[in-house]
Symmetry: C2
Subunit: 117 residues, 2 copies
Amino acid sequence: MKDTQKEKLEHEERIRCALESMPSEDDVAELAARFKAISEPSRLKILLALSCGELCVEHLTQAVGGNQSAVSHQLKTLKDHRIIKCRRQGKQVIYSIADGHILTMISVAKEHLNCNE
Amino acid sequence: MKDTQKEKLEHEERIRCALESMPSEDDVAELAARFKAISEPSRLKILLALSCGELCVEHLTQAVGGNQSAVSHQLKTLKDHRIIKCRRQGKQVIYSIADGHILTMISVAKEHLNCNE
DNA sequence: TTATCATATGAATAACAATTCATAAGTTAT
DNA sequence: ATAACTTATGAATTGTTATTCATATGATAA
């Protein structure tokens, strides 16, 4: 009976920790939205491509293999969530990954592919 | 004229890299699906809660603040994508995060919240 | 200024996913 | 075997998101 008692206490401790450390609704929502932005195949391809360095829209369109309009919409989504940033250079707009955290995510994700769990 | 030439070559190099290093359609699709699994607020909450340690469904239901059926559906989604795993203990089913990569992701995500870029 | 090239956007349809409700299934205790 | 408890699931509705098409905007060159 003592062991189950102990286990029960551990469970209580964990749920307490889970409830206390839970970020606010708003923070969770924003975080989820950012994950969602990454979670469509073509947007993920854009990020995978950008992990090689900055690229213009035309090249990104080649990289994802879609059409220009779709890619622009996808870029907007990523930009709105501050996952990528851009700068204009003449006629072209050149996109790049916004910060190190995102790059880390993409790297971890790539690793995941390679070791397959 | 020499500088733009050099830049152009760099661009070509990058798009070449992007195209060559792009994972297969299937791999990208699976990766995207896994990100998507993480990207709903209540599923993200489940993962944030589980980052404190394993929890049973009832406690997880408390942690996300939803109803039991919804949480079970969400758990199934996460489990189907091998983001969480579970074991039965008596009447209860106890869930935990499936592997280190996922934990890393959640940690990076949490950091992201704290430093806000 | 007009023509051309590169990118962005609004609106609509089409595809997809989340939540709910009712109920089933597995586990333990009586 | 039945009841009580915990978790899972199917089906339907509702809500969301992606893609497409047509067109607009912004930049450069002629």
